[in-house]
Homo-oligomer: 149 residues x 2
DNA sequence: TTGCGTGCAAAGGTTTTGCATGGCA
DNA sequence: TGCCATGCAAAACCTTTGCACGCAA
C-alpha cells in the first residue's frame, strides 16, 4: 500500500476540476496554473491526474485524439450514467445525463451481451443550433470550436 | 468540387484495409507497405486515410489515445442505419440493426434536439465473448487482435 | 528521517505541414 | 497540360520518463 501525500499541487488541480463542471484537458490545467502564477510542471499535472483517475476521483475521456484526453471531476456514482454528444458541425460537446442512458446500456447488455462503456462513448451528430442553421449544402464545416487552423 | 485521382498508393492502402476485417492503425499500414517493399510515405497514408474517411469509405476509431487511431473498411452505405459496437478488448466491430437504433435516434432528437449520425457513431464497451473471459484482474489486455507488441 | 511528489528537460509516440516533384486525367 | 497526390523531412502535439531536489508525515 502506498502512502498518499496531500500536496499543494494536488489541491490546486482538484480545485480547478471541481470548479469546472465541464471537461478540462491537461493543457487547460497547465494554462490555468500558469495564469494564476502557480508553478506546477506539466509532468506533475499528468501524474496527479493519473493518480486521481486510479482513485476514481476524476474521470478521463477521449473525445478527439487531436486534442488529447479530457478530465472531469467525478461527483458521485451517478456520473456513470452519462453520454456525450458531439456536434460535428460546431464541435460542441453536450452532456446527456437522462435516464435513457441506463435504458440504453440495459438494452445492449440484455439483447446483445455488450457491456457499454459510457465514459468512452461519444455519439456524433448535429446539435439543435446547427441543424436550424444548416443549409443542405453538403459541405460540412468540420468542427473546431476554439481552434483556428 | 474536387477531382479524385486513382493512384497506386490509394489502391494499395484500400486493398490492405479490405483484406483486414479487423481494425488497423496507420502504423500497421506503413509497416505493411514497407514489408511489401512498396515505397509510401507516412504522410501519404494519413492523407489518404483522411480522404477515405471523408468519403465514408473507411471508418476511424479511437480506441486508446496512446496507440493512436484505428481504421476499418466500411462495407457499404447500408451501414448508415446501424450502430457500431466496438469491443475495446478484442477489437471486434459489431453491427447493431435492431429497432432500438431508431428509438435511440428519436429520443435524442425529441428530447435533446440532437440529430444522431448513426454511421459515424461508435459505442465502446466489451463484447459478450470478452466479458466472459475477462477475469477481474484489473489489467486489460487492451485490444489488438493480430498485434503483437 | 523516509520516501512520495515535484520540476525540469529530454524523449517517446502519433499526426500534421511545407515544399518540390511525380503522376493521373 | 493542369492540378492533385506523393515523398521526404521537419515540425507540432500530447504524454511519459529520468533524475535530483523538495516537502509531507
Amino acid at each position: 500500500m502506498k502512502a498518499e501525500y496531500n500536496t499543494r499541487q494536488r489541491a490546486i488541480i482538484l480545485d480547478f476540476l471541481k470548479e469546472n463542471s465541464a471537461h478540462v484537458s491537461a493543457r487547460d490545467i497547465v494554462a490555468h496554473l500558469k495564469e494564476q502564477g502557480v508553478c506546477v510542471g506539466t509532468a506533475t499535472v499528468y501524474r496527479t491526474l493519473d493518480r486521481l483517475c486510479e482513485q476514481g476521483v476524476v474521470r478521463k475521456f477521449i473525445i478527439d485524439e487531436r486534442s488529447g484526453a479530457c478530465y472531469q471531476y467525478a461527483e458521485g456514482a451517478e456520473c456513470n450514467e452519462h453520454f456525450h454528444l458531439k456536434c460535428v458541425s460546431c464541435g460542441a460537446l453536450i452532456h446527456v445525463d437522462c435516464g435513457f442512458v441506463a435504458e440504453m446500456e440495459k438494452h445492449f447488455l440484455c439483447d446483445h451481451g455488450f457491456t457499454v462503456s459510457s465514459g468512452r462513448t461519444v455519439i456524433y451528430g448535429v446539435c439543435s443550433s446547427c441543424s436550424k442553421i444548416d443549409a443542405p449544402s453538403g459541405t460540412n464545416h468540420h468542427c473546431c470550436k476554439g481552434h483556428e487552423h
